[in-house]
Structure formats: structure tokens, C-alpha cells
Amino acid sequence: MRGRLGRGLPWVLGLGAAALLAVTFYYPVATVLIEAVSVAGGVTIEPIVAVLTDPFYVGWLARALADPVAFGRALLDAPVATLTGSLGLIGFTAYQALLSAIACVALGLPGAYVLARYDFPGREVARSLTILPFVMPSIMVAIGFVSMFGENGTLNRILGALGLGEIDLLFTLPIIILAHAFYNAPLVTRVTAAAWENVDARRIESARSLGASPRRAFLDVVVPRLLPAIATGAVLAYVFSFMSFAIVLALGGLGFATIEVWVYNRVTQLEYASAAALATIETSISLGLTYLYLRYEASQEGIREGGGGGRPLKRKPLFGSLTPTRVAVGGYLLVVGVVFVGPIASMIIASVTNDAGFTLANYEFLLTRQRTAYAFQVQPLNAILNSVFFAAGSLLLSVPIGTFVAVVSTRRFRGRKVIDALAMAPIAVSGVVVGLGLLRGLVFGVEVWGYRITVTGALAIIAAHAVAAYPFVVRNLTPLLGGLDRRLTESARSLGASPARAFLDISLPLVWGGVLAGAAFAVAISIGEFDSTVILATGTESYTMPVAVERYLGRRLGPATAMGCVLLGVTSGAFLVVERFGDRGGLL
């Protein structure tokens, strides 16, 4: 039994993962992207060339290609103005994503430090809750940001009360970047904190015993282990900000349009060729960056070997005598209060207030809707149950698939980083295109041998969520697997264990923390997912909490904010339970 499991398992997982990806991702997306390179049955690159030579999309690059001499002269005359004056849609998208990624690292890294190196009451809870921004539908983030940073928002009221001036952030680039940081800085925090906690204290001790200063030991032992994690977080933050769409329109406006805004505009006008061309370019940039990052990650493996299973660093108490570091941590927590807690708290306050003051009317609305809704309307409880069910389902699918892909991509063979990059495609392809592809490929169905196969409803939704989620499992696991001491598995193999058995018995327990971290993201992705869910839903019976938030959004924001708070409450509860369970029941 054990032997058969060991031999059959990789095949089952590999074929299962390949089939799932083919049906719910690659085929649907291909049906859309093909339009960028096909016209009336023939092959063309015209739509893509049209984009790449249009100053509207590529800014000065188009001028440089059209008339290199004139452009060169302009560049010599006024280099900065020439390069920054006209970025074009694609250039601007890349630029704001870069600023966003920097902001994410700046805001996320100190958080990892605090969580990994300090002990304080509620640390575990705080750590669990860092996942919350990830599950928030963009509508909710927009509502929270307007009520926190708006002209009459909480922040300005606090500043006013303190006698400080007013800040006007809405409809500017900084608020968009801040919103991207709200989403993605916690990602940097989580990934980096996990790596930090994986540092073996004994290595620092031996460095110190060999005469290294604390600073030297930190730079030589800790930093090399953190860098890949920080890079992972930064790259993911960049890619997500690069593909951003709803937040940009709600908080900044059309003047800050990104590529994805344009893809959406094209698709609503049913202009598939230009939508596909733009999405293809968008995906190439995201995937290209992911590939470069993966090459870097692979180059770091040797440095980090020997990780896992060590003794973690001892945490310092957060509260104590005022040292410069503690003061800095205090300042950071203040920033966290404004940027992360502020929008969420403002939304919670908005859900229980109206013009007259405190009210529970918005929550009464949810109860009334639960009792009296027609069958074709969304009921809050059904939405909650669906969200939990889909999250559990996509967890069960995405964790083994992600683990499998992570194992494959840490094997050493030529071109593995290409495969690894392709496996990351679900996070690098335009959400609008994935939605359109799911509609065409799964909802409209495929004709096979005289039968039309359609895939919709709960199972299709779970599959789509799992596909969106498994890259997070991969990214959390790969650095840990790459850092494992190969001698451990090699000795198990030499004692007769199959590769799968050696992995399950030796490697998996050592990287279990990464599995849990990936699982948390999988659940969060599923709970927060909106686009695929509404497209694959067969009706209100498969609607989830984010769909309910969207449906309850009307002229007044109250009902939607109340549903949003339910979403946050349910998610927080789920995470506290899951992570507690993971810690106790895990294989560590």
C-alpha cells in the first residue's frame, strides 16, 4: 500500500494538475488571446504591432521607433522631460506598479521584523489578520479608503482635531499607490516573516562565536535568507499592481488608466482583437518579470541550503524600556494604524452609522434580506456558506497541486524555470481575459464528438479558485524546498524510499510552515474572488460574499458595508481557526 501510494501519487497529482490547468485556465485563456494573432483564419501580428507603435500605449518609445534621430536630439536636449513626459499607457502602468512595489516593501518589511522578532500579546492573532486585506473586494477597499482618506474622512478629522492641516489625497497617484500597498504590503510581511522565523539561531550563534559583530552576523546569516522572500513579495506586489483595475478607477479616475482598464474597456465594447493584443503584452511583461525573478530565486538556492528544522531565533518582548528600535517600531505601528487599520475601521464605523448617528439598520437589512429575499436575490447566509464551501474546496485542490509544482520546479533540469514561470501564469494573466475565457470556454462549452461539454456551477467555481490560488502555494514553498539539505532526502532514498515517500516523510514536515502559509493565501484568494465566480455561477445559489457586497451596493453604501463587515468577520474567524488548527495539528 505504502509503496503503491508512493509510486502512483506523483502521476495522479501531475496529470490531475495538468488537466485542471488545461480545462480551467490554459484553454479558456487561449480562446481569447488567440484573437491577438489571428484574423479570418490566418496568422497576423498586426494587432500587437498596432499597440506597440502607438504613442498612446507606449509613449516616447513609439516616437523613438518612428524617428530615432529626432528622438535622440530631444533626448539630448531634455533627457528627463523626454522620458517622463510621455510614458504612454503601458509605461504609466509599469511606473505606478514600480512605485507600488516599493511602497509595499517599505510598509511590509518592518511588519515582518516586528512579527518575527518581537513577542507581544496577540501576536498570533495579528499575524493571522494580516491576510484580511487580501480577501477584500476592491469595492470595499475603495469605500474604506474614501471614508479614511477622503476630504471629510477619518484621517482629516483626526488631523483637524490635532490642529494639523488637511490632506487631499483622493483622485491622485499617491492614493492609488497607497491602496496597492494596502493590498500587497501584507503579502511582503507574511512571506518575509515566514523566512525570518525559519532562520536557524544556531547559525547566528556560531557566526558570533567566530567573532562576527551582531551586525555582521545579521548581514551574513539573516539577510541572505530574507532577500529571496522579500523579492518574492516585491515581485508579486509588482505584478498585482501592474494588473490593477477597479481600484484605479474608483480612487484615481480614468486619468490614471492602466492597461487592465483598457482591456476592460475593449472587452465591454466587444473589441476582442485589441483587447487580446493588449492583454498579451500585459501578460508578457508580467510573466517576463516573473521569469527573471525565478532565475534569481534559483541562483540563491545554493546559498541557503541547510535550512529547515533549525531552532528559530528567540523573540524580544515588544514592551519594555524605550530603546531607539522600540520607538521606531512604535512609529511603524502608527503608520499601520493609518494605512491598514484605518480603512477597515472606517468601513466598520460606516456600517453602523448614518446621518443621525449610530444605527443597526444596515445589519437589519441583511437579516430582512435573509428572511424575505426572492429566489433570484442573494441571501447573506447562503453567500457565507458558499464562500466557506468554495474556500475549503479550493484549499483541498490548490495545496497538493501547488506542492507538486513546487517540488517539480526545485528539481534540477533544463528549462525548469520556464515551466515554473508558466505555472505562475494564473496570476500574470489579465483577470478580464480569464473571465472572458471562462465564459467562452466553460459556460458556452466545447463541442466534442457531437456533444457540447459545459462546465459551470460549484465545481467549476472551486476549480477556478484553485487555479488562481495554487501559485501562492508554489511561491511559499519553493524557497523553503530549495533551501532543504538534500542529504536528508538522499539518505531516505538510499534506504529504499520512493521519491514521493521520501518527500512526504522527510521534506514535507520540514516545509510545513510554507504549506500553511500557502494554504492561507489559497483560502484568502478563494474568499475574495469575484470575476470568475459570477461568470461560472449558475444563479444565486452559487453566489459568494463578495458578490453579495456588490449586489447590495446601491445609492447608499450602508448595506454593502454591512455585508463587507460580515465578510471580514467570517474571514477573520476562519483564519483564526485554521491557523490555530494548523499549528497544533501540523506535522511539525
Binding site: 490531475g16 499607457l89 475603495a142 426572492y374 436575490q377 461568470i535 449586489r551 495539528g585
Partner: protein, 393 residues
Amino acid sequence: MRRREFLGGVTGGAALLAGCQAEPVESGANGSGTAGNGTGSTTSGENATDATVGESGGDRTLRVATYPAYLDAPSVSPGGWVKEQFESTHDATLEWVSPEGGINYFIQRRQQNRPIEADVYLGLTVEELVRVDRELGTNADSSGGGGNQGGLFAPAETEPIANYDAIKSKLEFDSANRVIPVGTSYVSLVYDESAIEAPSTFADLLEPAYEGALIAENPTQGATGLRFLLQSIAARGEDGYLNYWSELLNNGTTVLGSWSDSYAAYSDGEAPMVVSYSTDQVFAERAGEDLSQHQVAFLDDGAVPYTDGIATFEETDETDLANTFASFMLSPRVQARTAVLNVGLPAVTNATLPKDFQQLVAVPEEAVEFSYDRLRGNLQGWVEAWSRQVAGR
């Protein structure tokens, strides 16, 4: 042990995934419009007292497609009332269909030669009809009639539709009668009179008094943004509207995404004026809000109407029932009630609105009309040029 169960769950999940639907592909059934037009059998005449019931045998089902807010809005939405009333007065079942993507969903189904799973579309606007015809290569003359392959909507026989003659003049936007108007409203400015005075012309909006005062919407994301853009084209001409918008943006106007984005920002006091509906005070009154923050202003005394209607899918086998539904929707009682529930205006002249409702709905002196024909050739270019200008700044 735990691990074994865990893995068992995985393979179980993979097996479940195989569960999907497979249906035999019908041969040649979906190619061209198969449903014959109503053969003139006058099923039911819906009138003011609304007592007549069609003689339809058995429990027939009418599948009505519409946009989500018609069925499920947090305040009120007409969907539930319409279904109950229609079913109680007719021997038929009304089944709502509300695919994400609205009319685009059906255009795509038609393009991919898939069957249309609805009999009627409720809520079709002129820009959507233009998109249908542009995508499917149909137009008012060719559709449904003869050799044209695969249109989406069939022209209605208006004769059996009760109260059809009472439809307000100028509301009809399809000369082939594929779309029968069932409701209308106007897109206007909504402003806070404690902060600004009402602007009265497009030129006013360029004044320093309105610097940073207006939030508008993306025309590809909703009816309000598009209609405000159209009105600016009517005011400044096809050659002048882009210049006008450039000045408008220089004066601090913000263009957000959807109406929800904009209205939320307006409600939070980010700007004293927003492009919205002229029925805004009805909502405000219902919610007990201060009406001074919900004043309605029409630029140049005009507004672009937002009219929507019912269209019958070519493929339907229920043309009679579809006509019955149209009669039902046009009856004065249903017109008055759905106008209140949908917070709009009736499409017919003989519906009596409640007094207080009528007082709260602002109506412009002039309706700024854009005909189907004018939009058919120009709409896409106008929006494209405008979007490039706004996003390219």
C-alpha cells in the same frame, strides 16, 4: 493518518471535477432565426383594470433576461413585484435570467452560435441595440426579416400589444420595432446647494467657481457617463467636444469608473456635484436625507433621456407570451408601479404616478435626442476619441 485522509480528499476532488454537463449538439437548429413571428393571435389585452388573463393552455414559462439591479437592488427593485403580478394575472411562470455582462452575454452567445436561453430581454437601451447590430452585422431594416443570418431580436407585431399607442412620442428608438420602450428617465447633474450654485450651461462648468466641483463617469461603464458625454457633444459639436473636455479636466473635473464609484465619492463629500439621474430626490426622500444635498441641475435646460425597453429574442418559441408580457408591462397600472419601484418615469402617457413621486422627479425642458441612426455610425468613434484623450493625459 491525517496525511492519508488529506490525500484521499484530493483524489476525491479530482474525480468530482469530471462532473460536468454534456448535451448532444442539435443539428442546424441554431443557425437562423427559427421562431415565427406571432401569428396574430391576440392573447391578452392588458388594460387599466388588469383583469384579463390569456387563454394560454397549461403552465407556460417566459424566461426574461435583465440587468441585475432590476432584480436585486438594496433599496427597491421591480423584479419581485413584476413576477408576482404577471404570474397571478396570467397562467404562466416568469423566470428571471440575469447573466453577468448583460446584453454582451447574449451577443457573444449568438456570435458563438449557442442557443439563447431567454425569450425576452428587458432593459435594452439604444446604445446596446447599436452594439448588438454592430457586432452581428444586422440593422433595423435587415433584422428578422429575410436572408439575414442570426440577428438577436425579432421585430414585434405591435398590433396585439395593448396600450402600445400610448407610448410617449420620441421614446421609440428602433424603427423596426424590435425594442418596445417600457421606461425612461434623464441623466442630469446632482449637486449640493449648500456648497455651490447650480450651473446652467456647459460654459459655466469651466468657470473658477466650479473648479474641482464635478465628478463624472466612464462612458463605457454605464448609462450616466455615456449620456453626459453625448450631451456635451450636442452642446459643443463633434468637432468641439474634445476641446471642451480638455478644458473641463483642466478645471479639475474627475472622471471615475462606474456610477457607484462616483456617487459614493459624491456622498462622502469629495465634490459638490456628480453626474447622476434626475430622479435623485426620490431616493433621498425615501432615505430621509437632506434634500439640499440632492438638487438637480440641467445644463442648457436639457438632458439626454435614458430609455429602455423590451425586445423579443428571435429564437423564442413563446412569441405570444412575449407579446402578452409586453402588454402587461405597458399597462398603465404596471407602468406606474414599475416607475416607482425602478425610480424612473413611465413610457406611456396614461400612467398615473403618485403625486409626491411626481413632484420629486425633475424633468428638463428639452430632451436632447440621439437617434439610433446617428449613434450607429458615430458612437464608437466618439467614445474612443474621448477615452484616449482622458486616459492619455
